[in-house]
């Protein structure tokens, strides 16, 4: 097992595409790290540089504290699982699993033992004599994972391994991967563009955009304190409402003027936000911080009155789209039992203790004491 460290790593492809820019990241030994970001943001490139399949144009890559920039992928002792599995089509499942071990000259008895162990663990022991073409998508996925496992490498790199599976199987494999990590304790880096996967699986999430790391942190930390409007808008569905507003002095305090009305800034945040008084800001409000019962909204609850535009009943919860005359509509997530219908007036209480303000010029979050 080993830690992975990236120091000012950049990658420019031949065509001049700057896929990754100046990434600094430390992945601890045994950690489950997620790379999350939209397609094309450089997740795969970063992973491939760690694996050695791509050379970094600048910076240092360290595995287990050792600089590996010039080390052949074969010598890095890591496993990578690709999105399309990359099973060797001309070999049986057994041969696929044993490929790396045979290259290393592992004794046959030991290979047999490990294949037996891993194939049972992955539930593929019945499939050992089949060719990859005779397997279903889910089975191929297990074989690909199994092939990564038998070598007992320093770290696992997984490049969107679940994205070719149907929704149900994906949920199953998600749990299995988490369990696998708990059992093995090996460092894992898992790439995904699916924020649900990221929130549920990782110990930490590294959110990337346009080849840069935007924010690194535990899922809840990133969720409650997004670094900028990109992260705020990327995590969770429906995502955080980002509403253009003005911050104005209001007697002793501060108030946010939205198209729909004003929201007083809670006292603990005032000092942090005061320098922005009189300026345009972006108010970030999560749909789940709107409550039907004022008591649920905490000490900083503030009444919001508006009209319902649409109602999306999802079963356990309901998503309301609320109109904001003169501004964009925003979403609120409320309990299921409501009898609300489109066109109804509604009174919700917003928990202003969860409010975030973003600077519209930099899109960065304006620092304030952590959520109360």
């Amino acid at each position: 097992m080993a830690s992975i460290e990236l120091r000012s790593v950049s990658k420019a492809y031949d065509g001049g595409v700057h896929a990754v820019r100046d990434i600094d990241l430390s992945i601890a030994d045994g950690e489950f790290m997620i790379f999350l970001g939209p397609s094309g943001c450089g997740k795969s490139t970063t992973l491939r540089m760690i694996a050695g399949l791509e050379t970094a144009t600048a910076g240092d890559i360290l595995i287990g504290g050792e600089r590996v920039n010039d080390l052949d992928p074969a010598k890095r002792d890591i496993s990578i699982v690709f999105q399309n599995y990359a099973l060797f089509p001309h070999m049986s499942v057994r041969k696929n699993l044993s490929f790396g071990l045979r290259l290393k000259g592992t004794p046959r008895a030991e290979i047999e033992r490990r294949i037996g162990h891993v194939s049972k663990m992955m539930g593929i022991d019945e499939l050992l004599d089949r060719r990859p073409s005779q397997l279903s998508g889910g089975q191929r996925q297990r074989v690909a994972l199994g092939r990564a496992l038998v070598r007992e490498p320093q770290a696992f790199l997984l490049d969107e391994p679940l994205s070719n599976l149907d929704a149900k199987l994906r949920a199953v494999m998600r749990t299995e991967l988490i369990k696998l990590h708990q059992r093995l304790g090996t460092t894992m880096v898992h790439v995904t563009h699916d924020q649900v996967e990221a929130m549920t699986m990782g110990e930490r999430i590294c959110i990337m955009k346009d080849g840069e790391v935007v924010q690194v942190g535990a899922p809840l930390e990133v969720y409650t304190n997004p670094a900028d409007t990109f992260v705020a808008g990327f995590l969770a569905t429906p995502s955080m409402n980002l509403m253009p507003a003005r911050l104005e002095a209001d007697g002793d305090g501060l108030a946010i003027h939205l198209a729909a009305g004003t929201i007083a800034v809670p006292e603990p945040f005032r000092a942090a936000y005061a320098p922005y008084a009189g300026q345009a800001i972006i108010a970030g409000m999560r749909p789940e911080d709107f409550h039907e019962k004022p008591a649920e909204a905490g000490p900083f609850g503030q009444l919001v009155e508006t009209t319902i535009e649409t109602v999306e009943a999802l079963g356990p919860e309901t998503i309301l789209t609320l109109s904001q005359p003169g501004g964009t509509a925003f979403a609120a997530r409320v309990s299921a039992a409501g009898t609300s219908r489109a066109g109804d007036k509604i009174r919700l209480t917003y928990d202003a203790g969860k409010l975030h303000l973003f600077d519209p010029r930099t899109t960065k979050r304006i620092a304030r004491p952590l959520s109360v």
């Binding site: 050695g52 399949l53 074969a74 690709f82 399309n84 099973l87 092939r147």
Partner: protein
């Protein structure tokens, strides 16, 4: 059941084209089975059928020698150029080796009239091996076939095999091991297709074989041509010899087609 006019038209066109392709072959078949006098009759007559011409090809002409020469040269050409072309194609697909411009140049060289290359090739070959031998012809065929085969195989090494190779390398294989254990076996249908095509090209080649051969090293195509001139045109035995010479190609073609389709489905066309 009524047949639609469109269907009728389509089949009419197809039949016409098939006939245009098949008729010369059928003509040759007829000529090869008739005696020398009937052979020239127009409109064609079948007359008395016999295999005399096929026997005469072996008794009066050096058909077996030509056949053996052609076979040996085609086999040697393929054996030499296929491994080399495989590695060249791999290098072109993986490394910075001139990229698309190089490949276009290779293709362009194939479009030159063969006669343009005769003199330079003659000079080059004679500096390396004795003129007139089978080795000389083989060498010329290698020189012409190798770039073409390499060009053809480049696309087989793009796409799927690239990722498989990366997987192999992450599993601990060196570049060479990944090439030998993964890429070559996976691309084998494409490689075989290129090999078969190289064999057929060498088998059919006429010009270089004519320039570089003596009567001992004549290939089939050169031998067939010589039948036309020695004592007038021996049209009936010539037809028989042509059919015999065609046989290996006809046997190989279905395999070529099968491997070519498999090979192409590996590469960029997938």
């Amino acid at each position: 059941m009524r047949i639609k006019p469109a269907t009728l038209l389509r089949h009419g066109i197809l039949i016409a084209f098939s006939a245009a392709i098949l008729l010369p072959l059928l003509w040759v078949l007829r000529v090869s089975l008739t005696d020398k006098l009937t052979a020239y009759k127009i409109p064609p007559e079948i007359g008395h059928l016999s295999f005399d011409n096929f026997i005469e090809v072996f008794t009066r002409f050096d058909f077996s020698l030509w056949f053996a020469n052609s076979f040996g040269i085609a086999l040697a050409t393929t054996a030499i150029s296929l491994p080399a072309a495989t590695m060249m194609a791999y290098a072109a697909a993986r490394y910075r080796t001139g990229g698309a411009p190089l490949l276009v140049t290779v293709l362009a060289s194939q479009m030159l009239p063969p006669i343009v290359l005769v003199l330079p090739l003659f000079l080059l070959v004679t500096t390396m091996v004795p003129i007139g031998g089978r080795a000389a012809i083989t060498l010329a065929h290698v020189a012409v076939n190798l770039p073409f085969m390499a060009w053809m195989m480049v696309s087989f090494f793009e796409g799927e095999t690239k990722q498989l190779e990366e997987a192999a390398r992450a599993e601990g294989a060196t570049r060479w091991q990944a090439f030998r254990l993964i890429t070559v076996p996976v691309a084998m249908p494409g490689i075989l297709a290129a090999g078969l095509l190289g064999f057929i090209l060498s088998w059919n080649e006429f010009l270089y074989a004519l320039i570089l051969s003596t009567s001992k090293s004549q290939t089939l195509s050169v031998g067939l041509a010589s039948m036309e001139t020695q004592a007038g045109v021996n049209i009936a035995p010539l037809a028989a010899a042509t059919l015999l010479g065609l046989a290996p190609v006809l046997i190989l073609l279905p395999f070529l087609q099968k491997y070519l389709i498999k090979g192409l489905s590996l590469g960029a066309l997938k």
